[in-house]
């Protein structure tokens, strides 16, 4: 067995502890899913808290939900679904080795992400101004404000952690875009693009559940 032959033959992106590129690819995909499962556990706890408190203080949660702006939530849902499409197409572009398309699609994905964050910032500003942030300055006209405060605590925690994930996603996509522009990814090696894609879609799925829970299901109730 000649070491120089092995070194010369293998793909430069192949890490020495993997037998071949296929094994490396499968390990990367599985590792990413293990990470996403920990993310499901992280968000799952908050979703459970939301379900339990909504069950216990139903009228207060309906009142809190009705203070949400239907259009901000709906437009942001559409923005995120579009960003997931461009991300899926970006991963495809990396698989078939279309460098320019990959860079362009990643940039469009980041722009959608920034649009989401901008809309969220406008929405947060309104809630902050209206004293809907839990704490000493919290104020809500009507009955049972202390349980409506629980609704807003969960609202800020869930959408806040989601927004933090979006922010991290945009930054990581930025790095991937730089390396894609440098021509690092192609048909033989694109694990980082696939994994950031998996992360991006996961964050989209969290919002797919946040949207109905926070903005929709109590919209037409009278409490």
């Amino acid at each position: 067995m000649s070491d120089s032959a092995t070194v010369a033959d293998h793909n430069p992106a192949l890490q020495h502890h993997f037998a071949d590129m296929e094994q490396q690819q499968q390990a990367a995909t599985m590792g990413m899913w293990v990470f996403l499962i920990t993310e499901i556990m992280f968000f799952g706890g908050m979703f459970l808290a939301y379900m339990v408190y909504r069950y216990m203080y139903y009228a207060a949660f309906v009142a809190g939900s009705q203070a949400m702006d239907f259009w901000y939530g709906t437009i942001n849902t559409i923005v995120l679904i579009c960003s997931s499409l461009t991300m899926a197409l970006a991963v495809r572009a990396s698989q078939v080795g279309q460098r320019k398309a990959l860079v362009a699609l990643l940039i469009v994905t980041m722009l959608f992400g920034c649009a989401f964050m901008g809309i969220k910032a406008i929405e947060y500003t309104g809630h902050w101004r209206d004293h809907q942030f839990p704490g000493a300055n919290f104020h809500f006209a009507g009955p049972d404000p202390q349980h409506i405060e629980i609704f807003f605590s969960l609202y800020w925690a869930m959408t806040g952690f989601h927004a933090l994930h979006m922010l991290i996603g945009i930054v990581v996509v930025g790095f991937i875009t730089f390396y894609a522009w440098r021509g690092r990814y192609g048909p033989d090696y694109h694990n980082p693009v696939e994994n950031v894609g998996l992360y991006w879609h996961f964050v989209d799925i969290v919002w797919i559940y946040l949207y109905p829970l926070l903005y929709l299901i109590s919209h037409k109730h009278t409490g």
Binding site: M30, I37, V52, T74, C82, R92, H219, K220
Partner: protein
């Protein structure tokens, strides 16, 4: 080694269905269905999440069984968290 390349048309079709489901769930929320509204909205959300997982995240095309085991185990864990916790809190007021 080569990844399974999905046709662009598939991604665009899935995106179209996701957009239609978003409009449907938004319109349904304008009707007062009482307690049913949460079930309908979450059912539509689960349909959308399934489309994203199967097509955008490519789970439909994964050929490594161990990765599928990891994903199913994770979702099963989430089901335990939700179902058992709600079976507790949801029945505490029964007497």
């Amino acid at each position: 080694m080569s990844a399974h390349v999905v046709p662009k048309k598939t991604y665009i079709t899935v995106w179209g269905i996701l957009m239609i489901l978003t409009v449907v769930t938004a319109l349904v929320s304008r009707i007062d269905l009482g307690h049913l509204s949460a079930i309908v909205a979450l059912a539509i959300a689960t349909g959308k999440a399934l489309l994203v997982v199967l097509f955008f995240m490519g789970v439909k095309y994964i050929n490594q069984k161990m990765t599928i085991v990891v994903i199913v185990a994770g979702i099963f864990w989430l089901a335990i968290l939700m179902v058992l916790s709600m079976a507790d809190y949801g029945t505490r007021l029964w007497s």
